[in-house]
């Protein structure tokens, strides 16, 4: 199969064969093409070239949703359960009237729902609103719904990301049971040890290409990680700065920081130092970054920039203390789509563009034009609305906004998410440059390329810092620590 989105190739002539009755793992780093493959396998998207067959029969037409649902179902990371409706109604959504063209008979609907739930051993009251369900129960209801359509091929997209240990074990138990009764699974996970535990075959995608398919038993963790990371060719992100002076002053000191997502984190960054924090989605790394920049309140612990204490949960305070940041999601917290490039980039510094709250348009344009030139933003000018820019250039605008206040500390969360290689190089070049000029930088990402300019990389796992790597780490050891395979080994180095 091949699939292109505009000029990006999401899948480049890949193939996958899932044998009847097996649990097949699909792994790959971000952008490897996993989600595109899932959307094609579930009939939500059409491949530009190639075909899908189920048990030898060609896939149904794209419009025939019911036919697809009888073949394959996917339990997504994001819930497709409607919280305001009852479990029973969710199970039979859009087919509530069990006999066609009749009124909905609520009582028989609930009875039928209990039967379905009972037959798959799901212990949930069908009359309860779905909002009451735990993540685990919600997944079980989704699986039961999929099976009740007659599908015997289930795709689980990172089902364990939000579950705790015992719940994961119960899920695996259930998967084994269903597998024994003839259900086939495609299992997507970032946690490699889970694949060794539950799957028989593994397929690795990298950069939209198929890398390998192999029985799990014949593969070591190392070779799996190597297959996922490749040799990191193509991108040259340097570390051109001289090594850090011993007397460089401490810019950021975080001590005992604690919230729901992370526990007792201590961290110091010195002027000119670049520190990376890696970890999976559930590691708490993003929340830690948000706490440092004032987007999130903490329950205890302190953040100091130089000598100044930063008040928890106040962005204006963080700005004043000298923190600039790129938030995780540029669409959510990074950009105001209706405003121009110049205005977006200068939002935090409007007080410096004129007296008494006035904004001098000439001054704003001058500042914005300098930023556009500095970061190489491709735009028709400061007044072009950012909604018209490409992803890479939008991200550069967010970076410009972060740098606008000449911060002493720059916090970057997933700074190169969804941008092309060229923009990636230039964004990471900026990190190297500002650090050379004495800015302290905190890079929060699980993208290895983002972490290459770092002087050291900390790894977080389930809310705690579990490992620290000085410069010179290998992709394999870092990925292993992120996935929690050998976190302890990393900590020893």
């Amino acid at each position: 199969m091949t699939k292109r989105y505009g000029s990006t190739v999401a899948l480049d002539d890949v193939g996958i064969t899932v044998a009847d009755g097996e649990s097949h793992a699909l792994v790959g780093r971000n952008g490897a093409g996993k989600s595109t493959l899932v959307s094609i396998l579930t009939g939500l998207n059409r491949a530009d070239a190639g075909s899908v067959t189920f048990g030898g029969d060609p896939a149904p037409a794209l419009a025939d949703r019911d036919a697809w649902r009888r073949k394959v179902a996917c339990v997504y990371q994001k819930s497709t359960i409607i919280p305001a409706l009852t479990v029973a109604e969710n199970l039979f959504i859009n087919r509530q009237s069990l006999e066609r063209r009749s009124l909905i008979r609520w009582k028989s609907l609930r009875t039928k729902a209990s039967e379905v739930l009972a037959s798959y051993g799901v212990d949930v009251d069908p009359a309860r609103p779905a909002a009451d369900l735990t993540v685990e129960q919600r997944q079980l209801v989704e699986i039961a719904r999929a099976l009740s359509f007659g599908a015997r091929f289930i795709i689980l997209d990172e089902p364990t990301a939000q579950l705790d240990g015992p719940a994961i074990e119960r899920l695996f138990e259930r998967m084994r049971g269903l597998q024994a009764s003839g259900v086939t699974f495609l299992f997507i996970s970032h946690h490699l040890q889970e694949i060794f535990e539950i799957c028989q075959t593994v397929t690795v995608f990298r950069d939209a290409r198929h890398v390998l398919t192999s029985p799990v038993a014949e593969l070591s963790t190392d070779s799996l990680v190597a297959a996922m990371t490749g040799d990191a060719a193509g991108l040259r992100v340097g570390h051109t700065r001289p090594s850090l002076a011993d007397d460089a002053p401490v810019v950021l000191s975080v001590s005992g920081l604690r919230s729901e997502a992370f526990f007792g984190v201590d961290l110091t960054i010195r002027a000119g130092e670049v520190v990376g924090i890696a970890g999976s989605a559930s590691s708490g790394k993003v929340e830690l970054g948000e706490a440092v920049v004032g987007l999130r309140k903490v329950s205890s612990g302190t953040v100091h920039v130089g000598r100044t204490a930063v008040r928890s949960g106040s962005v204006p305070d963080a700005l004043k203390a000298g923190i600039g940041f790129v938030p995780e999601d540029r669409h959510k917290e990074g950009l105001v789509p209706t405003l121009g490039v110049g205005e977006n980039a200068t939002l935090p510094i409007t007080d410096r563009l004129g007296r008494f709250g006035a904004i001098s348009p000439t001054r704003q344009r001058t500042v914005a034009e300098r930023m556009i030139a500095d970061l190489g933003i491709k735009t028709s000018g400061p007044s072009q609305p950012v909604s018209g820019l490409s992803g890479g250039n939008q991200q550069k605008v967010v970076m410009a906004r972060a740098l606008s206040s000449d911060p002493a500390l720059l916090v970057l969360t997933d700074p190169t998410a969804g941008v092309d290689v060229r923009s990636k190089e230039s964004l990471l070049g900026v990190v190297d440059r500002v650090a050379g000029e004495g800015t302290a930088v905190l890079v929060i990402s699980d993208e290895l390329d983002d972490l290459r300019p770092c002087d050291r990389v900390l790894v977080m796992f389930h809310g705690e810092v579990t490992a620290s790597f000085p410069r010179g780490w290998t992709d394999g050891e870092l990925v292993a620590a992120i996935e929690g395979v050998s976190a302890e080994q990393g900590a020893d180095e």
Binding site: L295, V315, V336, P337, E343, S383
Partner: protein, 323 residues
Amino acid sequence: MTKTLRFARFRDLALLPAIVVLMIVGALVDPVFLSADNLTNVLQQRTELSLLVLGQALVLISGKIDLSLESTIGLAPALALGLIIPASAHGLGIELPEWTAIPLCLLIGVVIGAFNGFLILKLQLSAFIVTLGMLTVLRGLQIGFTEGQNLFEVPLSFTYLGSARWFGLPASVLICLVAFVLGIVALAYFRQGRSIYAIGGNVEAARAAGIRTERVLWTVLIIASLLAALAGLLMTGRLGSVGPAQGQGMIFTVFAAAVIGGVSLDGGKGTLFGALTGVLALGLIENILTLGGVSPHWIQAIYGAIILIALMLARLTSGKAQD
């Protein structure tokens, strides 16, 4: 750059040709239309509406909505008067000194806006339903304490602004003009004004950029109510009394003028100049219908239909769905 800039300007000026066409049509319908007296009249009758539109446009650009403005325009002057006139004239019998009437009227506007802000921002209730409730409550308060009566005993100082003429023009028209100029300048050239656009465009991003979003929104809601109270003051001066239905039914026209003038109900988009042209266009249409001798029984239906047509035209020229 020039392309998008020109386009933005064009959006802003989109209604000017329509206004020119309306002027020509008006002149053809009745020569009286172009007389200074008639045009001044149109302007003066529209001052209260335009102040409401100014307030509403600010609220809409910030991404919120305030329906209660049409009741504030009645309650603020009525309650202020109630506090100074004797009980025999349907007052509350407190009989505060006469000079307090105008400050009280404006203060009542501020209090209503602050209370709206408390419900919307602190208790995080939906702005639509909160202000819809306030619309009913405020109107009910006015009818309640006036017992549904007109307040006729209005001191001269209270009617002055709404009836005086400065430099040959009604004072209210000049006040309105000043308010719009201040608003246009603030929204274009001041950081507080620009932060309203940022909040309306993406409140999360505005907060992440260090804007104190709650404070700005609260201020916007208070300003809108204050403008409604000012409009109430001017309307009372123009009419010489406060009726129990003062302002009732205006909110539809307020929204129509704002949307025709290019203000988005989604927030983050539109200009006060555009909103002003929306008010003028609707004012001219109504005036032409009256001069054209359309039966008073049909004028409402035709006026409403024209507003709907104007919304459709605005939708076609802006090219984007209005929601």
